[in-house]
Symmetry: C2
Subunit: 534 residues, 2 copies
C-alpha cells in the first residue's frame, strides 16, 4: 500500500519563463504524438528499444464519438473521493491541473470544478506502471482532460494543496481524453491566486481583467469563478422560487420594441427587415401591461440593454434584469415589503445553500460577510439627507443622490444600523420617471424607493400611475411624446388596479452580495462599450 | 335573506349594435361623472331631487395614491368564495365583467383571472341600497375594476354562467377603483367564445387574431389566456427545476454578439456605439464554452432572435429559448435520455399541477389530451423513412424531413405507438450544422436528434464536435469562415469533454402541449416580420 503525504510544489511552476514553457510544450506534444502513435499501433510497440510493461494502460484516447465503447464504465466524482473508498479502484475523469514527474514518480493534481485530488503515478511491477508511463503522465499538458483508473489510498497526512485531503489516487491507467494546447494564455494558478493585500503572495503573478475576459473559458475554471456562477444561478432560482410561492406568475417580455419608449436616450437600434426597431431598456411597460391584463403579480428574468457609454466598475451594456410588478389594494408598501422580504429570504437561503461556494469565493477575494436585518431597514429620503448633512454633505430636498453620496450613505447606515441592505423610500418626484406616482400629501415627493447593497443601488422601484389622464399629464410634463406611448397609456383606459414594482440587476446583486469590485466578475460573458467578445 | 338563482342573460349583450353601445357608453359616463361629483361633494347630495339612502355607499373612488386610507381592509379572492362563507360580509375587488340593471335589481358578473361570481345589487331598505345605486351599478362600464362590500349568499340553484356556482354576492357598497373606457375595442365574451366547429355558437361573433394582438391587454384577460400563460410559466419552471435537480447550472449568455456565427443568414444587426453587432440566433456557442469552462451541465432560458421572413403559424422573430448542454462520459444517449426524461417529467407534472388551467384552455379550444410514453419512444431516421415510404412518401437517406413529412410522420407514429411525443435519432450528417458529430460507423449519419410534439419539431440537438482540428475541418467543409469563429474553436484547444445538448422553443412546447394552432397564442407580446407592437 502506497501512502504518500508528499506534495508536489505546484506553485513553484508559476515562475517558469516563456522559453521554458515553450520547451515543455514541445516535449509534451512530442510525447503525446508518440503515445498517439502507440495507441494507434499497439503491435508496433515491440520495435521500441525498451519493453513497456504499461502497454495498453496509457496514451491518447480515440476521439469519443459515441461508439458504444466503455459504456458500462462507472466514473467517480472527485468530490466524492474519501476514506470510505479507501482501497477501492475507481475511474475518474478530470482535468490535469498540474503534473510533475521526478524519476520514478509523477505527482499530479486532478480537478473537477472546485474539487481537487492528488494523483500519484509511480513505477510499480505490481500495478504494471512503467518509467515510460510516468514520463508520459508528466508530459501531459496542463488543463487536459484525462481518464484515470486508480486505487483510492488514505494519506498519512492531509494533502494541503488539494480540496480532497484525506485520500489520494494511485493510478494504474492514464488516458488523455482531450488535450489542452501546451501554451495556455493564462495559468489557472495565477488566475486563482488570492487577492488579499496582506497576503505574502501579493507580489506574485496575477492575471489582469482583459486577459481573463479575452480567455474567459480558462478564467472561468478557477474555483472562485466556478463558485460565483453557481451562486448567481442560486440568486436567480431563489428570486423566482420565492416569488412563485407568493403567487407571482413568470412572464416573458419582448426585447425588440417599436419605439424607444423610456425617454429615447441610451437605446440600441436594430435593423428590422425593411424598417428599424429598438432593444428594450427594461420590461417596464410590458410588466405593467401584464398587470392591466389581470396577471396580478408578475416577474420576468431576461436581458436588458443600455446603450450607455459608461465605462465603470458597475455598468454593462447588456445585463440580466430581475423585474417584478404587483397590484396592491391600498398602499404601495404592500409591494415594497414584498420585494424587501424577497431579498431577506434570498440572503438567508444563499447563506444556507451556498455556504461552501461563498467560502470558495472568499479564498480568492477578501469578502466581508453580507449583513442584513430581518425585517429590513427602511429609511425615508429626508432621513438620508439628514445623515449625510451630519457627515458634512449638504443636499437639497429635491436633489438626487450621486454615486459617492450613495456610497457614503451606505457606510453611515452600516455604522449606525449594522446592515449591508436597506431601503430608501420617498424619493423626490423630480428625480424619478414620468410614470411615478406622487405622494398624496406632498407634491414634491413620490411613492418611490431604491434598495441598496453595500452602498450601491441594486433596485429602483415605485408605485406607478394607473390613471390614464394623470399619466398623460405627467408624461407631457416630462416632455415625452405621448403618441409614442399610446399603447401603454391605452392599457390604463381598459381598467387597471393600483400597482408598484421594481427592477433589479442580477450581476449587481451577486457582485455586492459577495463584495466583489467589478461587475465583469459576475457576468459570464460581459458586454460593455468596448467589449462584445468572446 | 335574498336567494337568487336567476341569471342575467349575459350572452344576449353581444348582439348590441355599435349605436346602442355608444349610447350606453355615454349614459355610463354621465352617470359616472355624476357619481364622481357626488363623491367629491357629498354635502351637495341634499340638493338632489330625491333623497338617496345609499349616500356614501357607492361612487367613483379617489385615485388610490397610498394615502393610508383603508389600509386594514381585508379583501377576499373570488376563487375563495364558497358556502363556508355563507352569510359573511366580504370586500371583493374585481373586474365588472357584465352588468344589467332591470328595475330594482342589477345583476353583474365579477371576474378575477379565471374566476367569476354573480353580484346582485337590489333595492333594499335593510341594506340601504337605493334605486340610484342600482342604476349607477348598471351603468359602470364593463372591465372596470370595482370594490364591492357584499354578503355571501348560498344560491338555490347553481349559477351556471359563473365559475363560482354555489354562492353569489349581495352587495351593499360599490366603488369604481379604475374605470374602463365605455367602448372597448373587443368584447371579452367574444374573445373567450369556444372555438369548436360543432358548437351551436360557431356562427357568433369572434375576434380575429390581429384585433386580439393589437389589443393584447384586453385579449389576455380571457380565461383561456389567463390559463395559457400560467401554464407557460409552469413549463419554464418545470424545465429549470427538473434540470437543477439533475445537477445542471443555470447560465446567462449574451444576446449581443460580435459576429453572425452560425452561418450568417437570418441575423438582426444592431448599431453598437460606433460599430455594429448582431443579435444571437441561439446560445449554442456560449453554452458549449460553458462546458469547456467546466460547468459540466448547463441550461439557459432567454430571448433568441431570428431575422427570418417566415409568416407561418409557428415562426416568431423573437422567442424564448430553453437551451441545455451537458458533458457525457461515453455516449450521447446519456444526454438524449436526460433531455427526453426532462420532457416526460414535465408532461407528468403539468398534468398534475395545471389540471384546472388545462381544462380552462379546453373550454375555449378543442384540445385532445397530450399523450406520451414513459420512457419515451426513440426512432431512428431509417425507421422514419420506412414508415413514410409505407405511407407513400419516398425520401432519400440523406434528405431532411419537410414540415409536411414531419406532420405525416407524427400521425403515423401516433397511430402506431399512441404517443404525441417522440425522439427521432441519427439524422443524416448532410442536413445538420457543421459542429455536429458524425456517427462513428457511418460517415453519412450523425449523432443528432430532433424531438417532436404532435408532429412538430420542438427540439433539435446533437453531440457536438469537441476536437478542435476535426471541428475546423467540418467548418471548412461547410464553407464557414473559421476566422469568425476563432474564439469558439479555441475553446476546444483548452481541453473540452465530449458533450451534447439541444435547444427548445418555449412557445412551441406550450402551443403543442395544448394543441393550439398558432404560436402567437403562446407568446404574450409576439414578434413576427409584420409585428413589433404593442
Amino acid at each position: 500500500m502506497v501512502v504518500s503525504g508528499e506534495q508536489p510544489t505546484v506553485e513553484g511552476d508559476t515562475g517558469t519563463s516563456k522559453k521554458a514553457a515553450k520547451k515543455a510544450a514541445k516535449a509534451a506534444e512530442k510525447q503525446q504524438k508518440k503515445a498517439e502513435h502507440k495507441a494507434a499501433n499497439p503491435q508496433g510497440q515491440a520495435e521500441g528499444p525498451e519493453e513497456d510493461i504499461s502497454e495498453g494502460r496509457y496514451g491518447v484516447m480515440k476521439m469519443i464519438q459515441s461508439s458504444g465503447e466503455h459504456q458500462d464504465r462507472v466514473y467517480t466524482n472527485v468530490k466524492d473521493l474519501g476514506v470510505k473508498l479507501d482501497g477501492k479502484n475507481v475511474w475518474v475523469r478530470a482535468r490535469l491541473q498540474t503534473s510533475r514527474a521526478k524519476g520514478k514518480q509523477c505527482f499530479a493534481v486532478l480537478r473537477q470544478s472546485c474539487s481537487t485530488v492528488q494523483l500519484l503515478i509511480s513505477v510499480s511491477e505490481e500495478k504494471k506502471v512503467s518509467k515510460q508511463m510516468v514520463k508520459f503522465t508528466g508530459n501531459i499538458t496542463k488543463e487536459s482532460i484525462i481518464d484515470v483508473y486508480a486505487t483510492v489510498v488514505k494519506t498519512a497526512s492531509p494533502v494541503e494543496s488539494c480540496s480532497i485531503q484525506q485520500v489520494e489516487l494511485v493510478g494504474s491507467e492514464v488516458w488523455v481524453v482531450s488535450a489542452a494546447r501546451a501554451q495556455l494564455p493564462l495559468q489557472i494558478e495565477d488566475a486563482a491566486r488570492p487577492e488579499r493585500s496582506d497576503d505574502p503572495e501579493a507580489l506574485r503573478i496575477r492575471v489582469n481583467q482583459d486577459t481573463r475576459l479575452d480567455n474567459r473559458v480558462l478564467d472561468l475554471r478557477t474555483p472562485a469563478n466556478q463558485a460565483i456562477f453557481r451562486i448567481e444561478a442560486g440568486v436567480c432560482r431563489l428570486f423566482r422560487d420565492i416569488l412563485t410561492k407568493k403567487g407571482f406568475v413568470e412572464i416573458h417580455t419582448p426585447k425588440i420594441i417599436s419605439a424607444a419608449s423610456e425617454g429615447g436616450a441610451n437605446v440600441f437600434t436594430v435593423s428590422y427587415f425593411k424598417s428599424s426597431a429598438y432593444l428594450a431598456q427594461s420590461p417596464q411597460l410590458y410588466k405593467q401591461m401584464a398587470i392591466a391584463a389581470d396577471f396580478d403579480k408578475v416577474f420576468t428574468v431576461g436581458a436588458v440593454f443600455r446603450a450607455e457609454d459608461s465605462n465603470t466598475h458597475r455598468h454593462l451594456t447588456e445585463f440580466v434584469g430581475l423585474d417584478l410588478e404587483m397590484s396592491f389594494t391600498s398602499h404601495y408598501h404592500e409591494v415594497l415589503f414584498t420585494i424587501a422580504g424577497t431579498f431577506t429570504d434570498m440572503f438567508t437561503q444563499l447563506q444556507e445553500q451556498f455556504a461552501s461556494e461563498i467560502a470558495t469565493v472568499g479564498q480568492q477575494f477578501r469578502v466581508e460577510p453580507f449583513k442584513f436585518l430581518d425585517p429590513p431597514l427602511r429609511l425615508e429620503f429626508p432621513q438620508a439627507i439628514q445623515m449625510l448633512k451630519e457627515a458634512g454633505v449638504t443636499l437639497g430636498e429635491e436633489d438626487d443622490l450621486s454615486t459617492p453620496d450613495e456610497k457614503l450613505l451606505g457606510r453611515l447606515v452600516k455604522a449606525k444600523y449594522d446592515t449591508d441592505f436597506y431601503i430608501l423610500d420617498k424619493y423626490p418626484l423630480a428625480v424619478r420617471p414620468f410614470y411615478t406616482m406622487p405622494d398624496p400629501n406632498n407634491p414634491k415627493v413620490s411613492n418611490s424607493y431604491d434598495m441598496f447593497m453595500r452602498g450601491e443601488e441594486i433596485l429602483s422601484g415605485a408605485q406607478r400611475i394607473h390613471d390614464p389622464d394623470f399619466l398623460m399629464e405627467r408624461a407631457k410634463h416630462h416632455g415625452i411624446d405621448v403618441n409614442k406611448i399610446a399603447a401603454y397609456i391605452e392599457s390604463f383606459r381598459l381598467g387597471c388596479p393600483p400597482h408598484a414594482g421594481g427592477g433589479i440587476g442580477l450581476e449587481r446583486v451577486v457582485m455586492l452580495y459577495l463584495g466583489l469590485d467589478n461587475i465583469r466578475k459576475t457576468s459570464m460573458f460581459p458586454r460593455d462599450p468596448k467589449r462584445v467578445t468572446p
